[in-house]
Symmetry: C2
Protein backbone atom coordinates (compact mmCIF):
# COMPACT_ATOMS: atom_id res chain seq x y z
CA UNK A 1 0.00 0.00 0.00
CA UNK A 2 1.03 3.65 -0.43
CA UNK A 3 1.75 6.18 2.32
CA UNK A 4 2.65 9.38 0.47
CA UNK A 5 5.92 8.70 -1.42
CA UNK A 6 6.31 5.33 0.32
CA UNK A 7 5.20 1.96 -0.98
CA UNK A 8 5.01 -0.81 1.61
CA UNK A 9 4.55 -4.42 0.54
CA UNK A 10 3.83 -7.22 3.02
CA UNK A 11 4.25 -10.78 1.77
CA UNK A 12 3.55 -13.81 3.89
CA UNK A 13 5.55 -16.95 3.04
CA UNK A 14 4.94 -20.63 3.63
CA UNK A 15 8.37 -22.10 2.99
CA UNK A 16 9.41 -20.63 -0.35
CA UNK A 17 5.86 -20.02 -1.54
CA UNK A 18 4.06 -16.69 -1.34
CA UNK A 19 0.95 -17.47 0.74
CA UNK A 20 -0.55 -13.98 0.95
CA UNK A 21 0.27 -10.54 -0.40
CA UNK A 22 -1.38 -7.50 -1.96
CA UNK A 23 -2.40 -9.28 -5.20
CA UNK A 24 -3.82 -12.35 -3.42
CA UNK A 25 -5.72 -10.18 -0.92
CA UNK A 26 -7.29 -8.23 -3.79
CA UNK A 27 -8.19 -11.55 -5.44
CA UNK A 28 -9.85 -12.89 -2.27
CA UNK A 29 -11.89 -9.70 -2.06
CA UNK A 30 -12.91 -9.97 -5.70
CA UNK A 31 -13.93 -13.64 -5.30
CA UNK A 32 -16.07 -12.71 -2.29
CA UNK A 33 -17.69 -9.93 -4.35
CA UNK A 34 -18.11 -11.79 -7.64
CA UNK A 35 -18.88 -15.27 -6.30
CA UNK A 36 -16.69 -16.72 -9.04
CA UNK A 37 -12.97 -17.26 -9.48
CA UNK A 38 -12.92 -16.50 -13.19
CA UNK A 39 -15.12 -13.40 -12.83
CA UNK A 40 -12.83 -12.18 -10.04
CA UNK A 41 -9.76 -12.65 -12.25
CA UNK A 42 -11.42 -10.82 -15.16
CA UNK A 43 -12.35 -7.99 -12.83
CA UNK A 44 -8.68 -7.61 -11.82
CA UNK A 45 -7.43 -7.93 -15.42
CA UNK A 46 -5.66 -11.22 -14.61
CA UNK A 47 -5.45 -14.19 -16.98
CA UNK A 48 -7.58 -17.25 -16.22
CA UNK A 49 -4.44 -19.34 -15.68
CA UNK A 50 -2.79 -16.80 -13.37
CA UNK A 51 -5.96 -16.46 -11.30
CA UNK A 52 -6.19 -20.21 -10.71
CA UNK A 53 -2.49 -20.46 -9.85
CA UNK A 54 -2.92 -17.79 -7.15
CA UNK A 55 -5.97 -19.54 -5.69
CA UNK A 56 -4.14 -22.88 -5.73
CA UNK A 57 -1.11 -21.32 -3.96
CA UNK A 58 -3.30 -19.85 -1.24
CA UNK A 59 -5.24 -23.08 -0.74
CA UNK A 60 -2.01 -25.09 -0.41
CA UNK A 61 -0.30 -22.69 2.03
CA UNK A 62 -2.98 -22.53 4.74
CA UNK A 63 -4.28 -25.28 7.02
CA UNK A 64 -7.75 -24.86 5.52
CA UNK A 65 -8.72 -23.83 2.01
CA UNK A 66 -9.38 -20.10 1.64
CA UNK A 67 -11.53 -20.47 -1.47
CA UNK A 68 -13.92 -23.28 -2.30
CA UNK A 69 -16.15 -24.10 -5.22
CA UNK A 70 -19.82 -23.61 -4.45
CA UNK A 71 -21.54 -27.02 -4.31
CA UNK A 72 -23.97 -27.74 -7.15
CA UNK A 73 -23.61 -27.54 -10.91
CA UNK A 74 -25.21 -25.56 -13.69
CA UNK A 75 -26.21 -21.99 -12.89
CA UNK A 76 -25.27 -22.47 -9.22
CA UNK A 77 -21.58 -22.85 -10.12
CA UNK A 78 -19.23 -20.45 -8.50
CA UNK A 79 -16.83 -19.97 -5.62
CA UNK A 80 -16.86 -18.44 -2.19
CA UNK A 81 -14.46 -17.59 0.63
CA UNK A 82 -14.40 -20.08 3.49
CA UNK A 83 -14.28 -18.99 7.13
CA UNK A 84 -10.49 -19.29 6.95
CA UNK A 85 -10.55 -17.17 3.77
CA UNK A 86 -12.42 -14.38 5.55
CA UNK A 87 -10.11 -14.62 8.59
CA UNK A 88 -6.92 -14.48 6.50
CA UNK A 89 -8.18 -11.55 4.43
CA UNK A 90 -9.18 -9.61 7.55
CA UNK A 91 -5.88 -10.33 9.32
CA UNK A 92 -3.91 -9.26 6.24
CA UNK A 93 -5.84 -5.98 5.93
CA UNK A 94 -5.33 -5.37 9.67
CA UNK A 95 -1.60 -5.97 9.18
CA UNK A 96 -1.51 -3.50 6.27
CA UNK A 97 -3.35 -0.98 8.43
CA UNK A 98 -0.78 -1.40 11.25
CA UNK A 99 2.07 -0.98 8.75
CA UNK A 100 0.53 2.15 7.23
CA UNK A 101 0.10 3.63 10.71
CA UNK A 102 3.71 2.80 11.63
CA UNK A 103 4.96 4.32 8.36
CA UNK A 104 3.38 7.69 8.92
CA UNK A 105 5.87 8.77 11.56
CA UNK A 106 9.09 10.68 12.04
CA UNK A 107 11.41 8.54 9.85
CA UNK A 108 9.22 9.02 6.77
CA UNK A 109 8.94 12.77 7.49
CA UNK A 110 12.76 12.95 7.60
CA UNK A 111 13.04 11.08 4.28
CA UNK A 112 10.33 13.20 2.69
CA UNK A 113 12.07 16.45 3.62
CA UNK A 114 15.21 15.30 1.76
CA UNK A 115 13.35 13.93 -1.27
CA UNK A 116 12.94 15.98 -4.46
CA UNK A 117 9.46 16.40 -5.97
CA UNK A 118 10.78 15.23 -9.34
CA UNK A 119 14.08 13.38 -9.98
CA UNK A 120 16.87 15.06 -11.93
CA UNK A 121 17.39 13.65 -15.42
CA UNK A 122 19.45 10.45 -15.70
CA UNK A 123 23.13 10.95 -16.51
CA UNK A 124 23.75 7.29 -17.42
CA UNK B 1 13.12 -7.23 6.05
CA UNK B 2 11.80 -10.49 7.55
CA UNK B 3 9.58 -10.89 10.62
CA UNK B 4 9.04 -14.65 10.95
CA UNK B 5 7.09 -15.78 7.86
CA UNK B 6 6.52 -12.17 6.79
CA UNK B 7 8.61 -10.16 4.35
CA UNK B 8 8.10 -6.40 4.47
CA UNK B 9 9.55 -4.17 1.76
CA UNK B 10 9.56 -0.38 2.01
CA UNK B 11 10.28 1.55 -1.18
CA UNK B 12 10.47 5.32 -1.33
CA UNK B 13 9.55 6.92 -4.66
CA UNK B 14 10.42 10.21 -6.27
CA UNK B 15 7.87 10.45 -9.07
CA UNK B 16 8.17 7.08 -10.83
CA UNK B 17 11.76 6.47 -9.72
CA UNK B 18 12.74 4.28 -6.77
CA UNK B 19 14.71 6.65 -4.52
CA UNK B 20 15.41 4.30 -1.59
CA UNK B 21 14.72 0.68 -0.76
CA UNK B 22 16.40 -2.36 0.79
CA UNK B 23 18.99 -2.79 -2.00
CA UNK B 24 19.95 0.89 -2.07
CA UNK B 25 20.20 1.04 1.73
CA UNK B 26 22.56 -1.96 1.69
CA UNK B 27 24.58 -0.25 -1.04
CA UNK B 28 24.89 2.98 0.97
CA UNK B 29 26.10 0.95 3.94
CA UNK B 30 28.64 -0.88 1.80
CA UNK B 31 29.94 2.37 0.28
CA UNK B 32 30.41 3.82 3.77
CA UNK B 33 32.27 0.67 4.80
CA UNK B 34 34.37 0.18 1.64
CA UNK B 35 35.03 3.84 0.76
CA UNK B 36 34.52 2.95 -2.89
CA UNK B 37 31.46 2.50 -5.12
CA UNK B 38 32.93 -0.36 -7.15
CA UNK B 39 34.24 -2.21 -4.08
CA UNK B 40 30.80 -1.82 -2.47
CA UNK B 41 29.11 -3.27 -5.56
CA UNK B 42 31.55 -6.20 -5.66
CA UNK B 43 30.92 -6.86 -1.99
CA UNK B 44 27.17 -7.13 -2.67
CA UNK B 45 27.66 -9.25 -5.80
CA UNK B 46 26.26 -6.50 -8.03
CA UNK B 47 27.54 -5.66 -11.50
CA UNK B 48 29.58 -2.48 -11.95
CA UNK B 49 26.90 -1.05 -14.24
CA UNK B 50 24.03 -1.89 -11.85
CA UNK B 51 25.93 -0.36 -8.90
CA UNK B 52 26.45 2.94 -10.69
CA UNK B 53 22.83 3.07 -11.88
CA UNK B 54 21.63 2.71 -8.27
CA UNK B 55 23.99 5.45 -7.06
CA UNK B 56 22.89 7.72 -9.90
CA UNK B 57 19.19 7.11 -9.09
CA UNK B 58 19.73 7.98 -5.43
CA UNK B 59 21.73 11.10 -6.23
CA UNK B 60 19.03 12.35 -8.63
CA UNK B 61 16.10 11.69 -6.29
CA UNK B 62 17.28 13.64 -3.25
CA UNK B 63 17.85 17.38 -2.83
CA UNK B 64 21.51 16.70 -2.06
CA UNK B 65 23.75 13.92 -3.36
CA UNK B 66 23.91 10.91 -1.03
CA UNK B 67 27.24 9.65 -2.39
CA UNK B 68 30.14 11.71 -3.64
CA UNK B 69 33.51 10.94 -5.12
CA UNK B 70 36.37 11.65 -2.71
CA UNK B 71 38.35 14.69 -3.95
CA UNK B 72 41.86 13.92 -5.19
CA UNK B 73 43.16 11.42 -7.71
CA UNK B 74 45.50 8.43 -7.63
CA UNK B 75 45.46 6.34 -4.46
CA UNK B 76 43.08 8.80 -2.76
CA UNK B 77 40.31 7.89 -5.21
CA UNK B 78 37.12 6.60 -3.72
CA UNK B 79 33.67 7.58 -2.55
CA UNK B 80 31.95 8.49 0.69
CA UNK B 81 28.47 9.14 2.02
CA UNK B 82 27.55 12.80 2.38
CA UNK B 83 25.70 14.16 5.42
CA UNK B 84 22.47 13.68 3.46
CA UNK B 85 23.57 10.10 2.67
CA UNK B 86 24.01 9.31 6.36
CA UNK B 87 20.68 10.97 7.23
CA UNK B 88 18.73 9.08 4.54
CA UNK B 89 20.31 5.74 5.50
CA UNK B 90 19.52 6.28 9.19
CA UNK B 91 15.93 7.41 8.50
CA UNK B 92 15.37 4.38 6.24
CA UNK B 93 16.68 1.96 8.88
CA UNK B 94 14.51 3.68 11.51
CA UNK B 95 11.51 3.26 9.21
CA UNK B 96 12.31 -0.45 8.75
CA UNK B 97 12.59 -0.81 12.52
CA UNK B 98 9.17 0.85 13.02
CA UNK B 99 7.65 -1.45 10.37
CA UNK B 100 9.18 -4.57 11.94
CA UNK B 101 7.82 -3.54 15.33
CA UNK B 102 4.35 -2.89 13.88
CA UNK B 103 4.43 -6.27 12.09
CA UNK B 104 5.05 -8.29 15.20
CA UNK B 105 1.53 -7.92 16.55
CA UNK B 106 -1.85 -9.62 16.64
CA UNK B 107 -2.64 -9.67 12.88
CA UNK B 108 0.58 -11.57 12.08
CA UNK B 109 -0.10 -14.00 14.95
CA UNK B 110 -3.57 -14.67 13.47
CA UNK B 111 -2.07 -15.30 10.02
CA UNK B 112 0.68 -17.47 11.42
CA UNK B 113 -1.78 -19.72 13.26
CA UNK B 114 -3.59 -20.45 9.98
CA UNK B 115 -0.41 -20.94 7.94
CA UNK B 116 1.02 -24.40 7.24
CA UNK B 117 4.68 -25.11 8.00
CA UNK B 118 5.16 -26.45 4.46
CA UNK B 119 2.82 -25.94 1.50
CA UNK B 120 0.90 -28.87 0.02
CA UNK B 121 2.18 -30.00 -3.38
CA UNK B 122 0.98 -28.01 -6.40
CA UNK B 123 -2.03 -29.47 -8.20
CA UNK B 124 -1.61 -27.28 -11.31
Amino acid sequence: MRVGPLKVKAQLFCGDEAAMGPGKADLLEAIGREGSISAAGRDLGMSYRRTWILVDEMNRCFREKLVEATPGGGRGRGARLTGAGHSVLQAYRDLEHALAKASAGDPLARLDRLLRDVPLKAAL
